[in-house]
Amino acid sequence: MKVRILVSLKPSVLDPQGQAVKNALLTLGYEAVKDVRQGKVFEIELQNVDRQTAEKLVPEIADKVLANPIIEKFTWEIIEG
């Protein structure tokens, strides 16, 4: 089974990298761009787990290691299997 986890800064936290990307896009003339938030994507391949186990395991991994809950939030989905 393959899962994808998206980690990004909480909306209340300033994202200087996202701001820099936004400014670059505006400089390039993409006036439609209203805001940019930057994050990280993890693709994790799991073995010998069923859906139910994954639903317990993935948030645990994300909360404990992949994201820092003080500044970041995460979402995840099963992308294969």
Binding site: P16, L66, N68, I70
Partner: protein, 261 residues
């Protein structure tokens, strides 16, 4: 020879201020100092653990995020919970935050630049084991060198830090004013260093070990090490005394790097 205090400098793969810190503790402050390898689980009876600066484990994932799972950190946590003194400098500060021993988290610097420069910090609380040799509002000239030093904590946490006097150092200008320009990395409330509620774990982004000898431009960083030694000596009573520090400086060679990655 009289006994000195014993310091342990933790070495992670990617630590790069370990030798500077070791040098200052051993040769400038004249204290017994040992390296503590990240795979060790023995703190060798040190009186104070120092987590030095650097880029532990390449700072992959997040600064300090992986270092906190190393075996030595289990012991550092126990040591801290038992009241032992722990000082985290720069990356060491980030590791202590990731390990949950200190509040808050570090965001990328507001200008997205790696900042390597001398800054001024103001002692906000001189009643701690790490700042007692300084005066309140004393301005120290100490360098920083980091990419992620933009201190963040949610509003309730910030309020607690303020109310409980846990903010020990703030970025300021040469006169001690909290100007916007002086807050180079964008830290909330100008925070450069915080202490835990119990008062035995301190993290600071500036590098006192790089400012402990006049020849390097500033020796203001000595205040931090002098504070720790003073605290430990008072705690130990008459047993361990100052004599060794007043002895003629002996520059001992540094030990070779220990262990395998």
């Amino acid at each position: 020879m009289d006994k000195t205090m014993k310091f342990g400098v933790v070495v992670f793969p990617g630590s790069n201020c370990d030798y500077d810190t070791f040098h200052v503790l051993q040769n400038v402050m004249e204290q017994e100092t040992v390296f503590l390898w990240h795979k060790d689980s023995d703190l060798q009876n040190v009186d104070c653990v120092v987590l030095p600066g650097g880029f532990s484990y390449g700072d992959y994932l997040r600064s300090g995020a992986i270092a906190r799972f190393s075996p030595i950190m289990t012991e550092v946590k126990k040591f801290a919970e038992a009241g032992g003194l722990v000082l985290g400098i720069c990356n060491g500060f980030q590791i202590l935050q990731e390990a949950g021993l200190l509040p808050g988290a570090m965001l990328r610097n507001k200008n997205l630049k790696f900042l390597c420069q001398h800054v001024y910090i103001r002692i906000e609380n001189n009643k701690t084991a790490f700042s007692r040799a300084g005066r309140k509002n004393q301005v120290l000239n100490i360098p920083i060198a980091h990419f992620d030093g933009n201190f963040y904590a949610p509003p309730e946490m910030l309020e607690t830090l303020e109310n409980k006097n846990q903010i020990v150092f703030r970025y300021c200008d040469e006169q001690g004013q909290l100007t916007e320009e002086a807050n180079v990395n964008g830290s909330l409330h100008h925070i450069a260093g915080v202490i835990n509620e119990e008062g035995n774990v301190l993290g600071m982004m500036p590098h006192p070990e790089r400012a402990s000898e006049k020849i390097l431009g500033s020796d203001d960083g000595r205040v931090i090490f002098e504070s720790i030694i003073d605290y430990l000596e008072k705690k130990a009573g008459q047993g361990k005394k100052k004599a060794a520090r007043q002895a003629k400086p002996v520059v001992s060679p540094l030990p070779p790097l220990i262990g395998n990655l």
